[in-house]
């Protein structure tokens, strides 16, 4: 493990002649190049987007509470499902992980900031702009995007509203933000590690973000291409996806999912890193199998490029192709299983306590595994013919994304919040948040497996009567889950007001790593002199 030899970090005159006082007000936040400030901006933005996307989910669940069309028109319902997906993927999960990367990576590797601090500022500030464009399109005549976050052609080209142009611009901007962020992460990790921090001494969170960043620069440009082709097909007379002009709608799916599959790994690898940081702390044992965790993460990332067509098993591909994608998809469960077993092995015979970050981390391990198992079911071609486009798929990806990615983000916030603020958060509220979320999230998503297997399709505003009872319970779980997040909101506001008991540098007994060897709250500038890592 790493230890500091120089543990006193003073903002001394030996450093450059910069101001010793921290800027304040709007200008501070607009112009900041400080990784901690930018991390905070990303995290608050992601939380606001989470609540916004969540509100759309509430509209969806309100309509689906009973059979029949009571609350919204079908076209508006489709806008809700589409924008809910876009916001959660591009506005909540990805920016949250980027915020955590910004806050933590420099501190974990003993660097004073990210490699490209001014580009960092831009990477963040174009995001609210992009989402303003996307959200405002909902208020235009014709409505906002209503073709699903996967925007298949020809629904998105021939049969969509003119607001599709705004959707395309928003996606371009979000993509640019992610690409710039990824470049920043890679350069920081490659070039700014403290002396003595070799590759295999880096914390797992840094490793998983490094690999995620490579996935981002590889596939976000492909999304940019796909979205540009949709724009030109719709407005400039090209025929990428139009059979009349010699194009092919199925080609859209290939191009989109070539981006789309690595994208879902982009949304889970940082989660794996977070869990790998938290479990050893509260088990008071080093992570089991550090090297295999690194190799497993790299294997998952590489494999993610050759499985895209498992989203397309029903498009009429030749059997040989379907088999290839089936076997490659099943293969991914091997390195993933290695990671799950290693987390369990870390806890084995550990000296465990169950603070709130650990509660979320353990919940992640159990529930993400459930999501992974339904994914394995979906990988089997002949049964996927039954599950495809049903609520079984919706159950699968919500388990891996909500009880997976989102729970890991909450775990991370609870784990590192005392380091950021210098105060312990309100533990009572945190426990209520955890337990209410845990119960409600399972009431919300577990029954979706059953209605999916029973044949309920996805993306529909009304359903056959036999699905009514289960949908009622799903909606109740949804409302409860939504309300539970308000507990988190109250807790975060109290934390930002610096309420709570002061904490030590280490905060959690058992926490190890460079970020736990600096004061809490972390000073505005840290590691201006690099530590020597043993």
């Amino acid at each position: 493990m790493t230890t500091l030899t120089d543990s006193t970090q003073h903002d001394t005159h030996a450093d450059d002649h910069h101001d010793h006082h921290i800027p304040y007000g709007i200008k501070r936040w607009l112009n900041t190049t400080n990784h901690k400030d930018i991390g905070t901006l990303y995290l608050w933005f992601a939380f606001i987007m989470f609540l916004t996307g969540g509100a759309m989910a509430m509209v969806i669940r309100a309509e689906l509470f009973q059979p029949g069309l009571q609350i919204v028109e079908p076209h508006f319902f489709n806008q809700m499902t589409t924008v809910h997906g876009l916001i959660m993927v591009f506005g909540a999960v990805m920016p949250a992980f980027t915020g955590l990367a910004n806050w933590l990576i420099p501190m974990m590797i003993g660097a004073p900031d990210m490699a490209l601090p001014r580009m960092n500022n831009w990477s963040f500030w174009i995001l609210p702009f992009a989402f303003l464009i996307l959200l405002s399109s909902l208020f235009l005549e014709g409505g906002g995007p209503a073709f699903g976050w996967t925007f298949y052609a020809p629904l998105s080209t021939t049969y969509s509203a003119d607001s599709t142009a705004l959707f395309v611009f928003a996606v371009h901007i979000m993509g640019a933000s992610s690409i710039m962020g990824a470049i920043n992460v890679i350069v920081t990790i490659f070039n700014m590690r403290a002396p003595g921090m070799t590759w295999m001494k880096m914390p797992l969170f840094v490793w998983t973000w490094l690999i995620t960043a490579f996935l981002l620069i590889a596939v976000m440009p492909v999304l940019a291409g796909a979205v540009t082709m949709v724009l030109t097909d719709k407005f400039f007379g090209t025929s990428f996806f139009d059979a009349a002009g010699g194009g092919d709608p199925v080609m859209f799916q290939h191009i989109f999912w070539f981006f789309g599959h690595p994208e879902v790994y982009i949304m889970i690898l940082p989660a794996f890193g977070i869990i790998s940081q938290i479990i050893p702390t509260f088990a008071r044992k080093p992570l089991f199998g550090y090297a295999s965790m690194v190799y497993a993460t790299a294997s998952i990332a590489l494999l993610s490029f050759i499985v895209w067509a498992h989203h397309m098993f029903t498009t009429g591909m030749p059997v040989a192709a379907e088999l290839f994608f089936m076997f490659a998809t099943m293969l991914i469960s091997v390195p993933t299983g290695v990671k799950v077993f290693n987390w369990v092995a870390t806890m084995w015979r550990g000296s465990m306590t169950f603070e709130v970050p650990m509660l979320f981390a353990i919940a992640f391990i159990v529930l993400f595994t459930i999501g992974g198992l339904s994914g394995l079911m979906l990988a089997i071609v002949p049964v996927d013919f039954q599950y495809h486009d049903t609520y079984f798929v919706v159950a699968h990806f919500h388990y891996v994304l909500v009880t997976g990615a989102i729970f890991s983000i909450m775990a991370a916030v609870y784990y590192w919040l005392p380091k950021w603020t210098g105060k312990m958060f309100h533990i009572g509220l945190a426990k209520w948040h955890f337990w209410c979320s845990l119960v409600s999230v399972n009431v919300l998503f577990f029954p979706m497996h059953f209605v999916g297997l029973a044949g309920m399709p996805r993306r529909i505003p009304d359903y056959a009567l036999q699905f009514a009872d289960i949908n009622k319970w799903i909606s109740i779980g949804g409302f409860a889950f939504g309300l539970s997040q308000l507990i988190f909101l109250v807790l975060l506001i109290k934390a930002c007001k610096k309420q709570g008991e002061p904490v030590s540098d280490q905060v959690w007994e058992g926490a190890e790593g460079l970020e736990w060897e600096i004061p809490s709250p972390a000073p505005y500038h840290t590691f201006e002199t690099p530590p020597i890592v043993k």
């Binding site: 440009p221 492909v222 092919d248 191009i255 070539f258």
Partner: protein, 185 residues
């Protein structure tokens, strides 16, 4: 502010990463022709050739009889009548056949149509050779005009043993909006 000692190293890496980004953007667009190339090479996707074949020195295989079904379809926004004269033919591989397709434009404006073929099962498409087909170019019908369009083909004797039956579907699209002005007159 003192210069960042890492600056040059950083800039070099940024350039390399930016090159990857640009490369992958190009790759996304390269997927478009790549898709067609792979579909052609692997013989999947059910798209027969869009150029005329030449019928010469082809041996007729009397031992096999292949059943070919014809399906016609008009796309949304295409008001023509479109049907094949024959629903099904049974042919020997290597034998040259002709099938006629009837189209009529019942509206009172000239319309340009494009027929796009698709063959099922997909692998059979590689072995479908058309020496003459209305699908090779756009067809213009004036208001009220009707036409009998010939399609000549032969099945390649190399057709795999296990394929004894395939279906050729034509979908007719209305391409008046993007057609050449010359083609309209």
């Amino acid at each position: 502010m003192s210069a960042n000692p890492n600056q040059t190293k950083n800039n070099k890496l940024v350039l390399k990463l930016a090159a990857i980004v640009v490369g992958m953007f190009g790759f996304g667009f390269a997927l478009v022709p790549l898709y067609d190339v792979l579909c052609d090479a692997l013989g999947i996707n059910g798209k027969p050739s869009d150029t005329a074949s030449v019928y010469e020195a082809v041996e007729i295989d009397e031992s096999r009889l292949i059943t070919v079904d014809f399906i016609t379809r008009i796309n949304t926004g295409m008001p023509w009548e479109f049907k094949s004269e024959t629903r099904q033919v049974k042919v020997h591989p290597g034998q040259l056949n002709e099938v006629n397709f009837y189209v009529k434009n019942p509206t009172n404006t000239a319309i340009v149509g494009q027929a796009v073929p698709s063959i099922s099962p997909g692998p059979a498409a590689l072995y479908m050779n058309k020496t003459e087909c209305f699908c090779f170019e756009q067809q213009t019908l004036q208001a009220g005009e009707e036409l009998l369009m010939p399609m000549q083909f032969y099945v390649d004797p190399q057709l795999p043993e296990e394929i004894t039956y395939f279906t050729l579907q034509y979908t007719l699209y209305n391409v008046t909006a993007s057609a050449d002005v010359v083609a309209m007159n």
